[in-house]
Amino acid sequence: MAGLHALANPAKFVRLTDALIPWCAGLAALAIAAGLYLGLIEAPADYQQGETVRIMFVHVPSAWLALGLYTGMALASASGLIWRHPVADLLAKAMAPIGAGFTLIALITGSLWGKPMWGAWWVWDARLTSVLVLFFLYLGYMAIWQAYDDPTRGARAAAILALVGFINVPIVKFSVDWWNTLHQPASVVKAGGPAIHPSILTPLLIMALGFFAFAALVVMIRAQGEIAERRLSALRLAEARSETP
């Protein structure tokens, strides 16, 4: 835990992430390349869904990241609120657009997978619906940062929203599940994909690894940018103050 607290120092954080970034980049590139090869070429087509099952290899890792990054955002927000770590707030802020991006990918790829599978571009399936709400929560979080002039207060307001939203995510999931099963009396909805066969599971896990490494990479770059921008506005503010006669 002491090690984690040491990260609260922006300079240390930047040094640590500087070291990690090239490794994440390498891992992401390798894993994604391997995943693409295994998923697009090696893996067999599904006997029911045909080639569209390959969409799973980008859809599922994105969905995992959509939820994972929101969880990370909530955790970072909580530590920002509890311990007032300056880095924690900025880390949460950095995760948001990345999380929103992967949520968008999950929605788009889900839709493209759903059209040949279910015959509709959009269905109010429990998963798609709760992911859509998750997307709205990300947008609200980013909007709050924008709306506040004072970044310190903005950080705390955003943190509160992230935590409230985090409680809402399982509630939405549960309520939509309930609603969905009630509104679908007789029809058979083939949830998810085929039974997870190793020839499908392996590319999926490798792609997921690549995507996670990629997400970590981009979050670290964004966080470094946010730290630089905070220092920049602090310096500018100090200058403006010292110039006033």
Partner: protein, 53 residues
């Protein structure tokens, strides 16, 4: 080879999905990279100005 691209007739769906994914991921990376670069450049400029001539 053309069979690969045809994806059993589902080419539009599969390639759009992969394309959209690549677009968003690369877009996020480029955007974050450029934001960081701009902030660090401005920061460096400001710190040099403060150090004075």
């Amino acid at each position: 080879m053309s069979e690969f691209f045809a994806m059993g007739g589902y080419a539009g769906f599969v390639w759009s999905a992969y394309g959209a994914t690549a677009l968003v991921m690369v877009g996020l990376l480029i955007w974050s990279w450029r934001s960081r670069k701009a902030a660090e450049a401005a920061l460096q400029q400001l710190e040099e100005a403060r150090r004075g001539p």
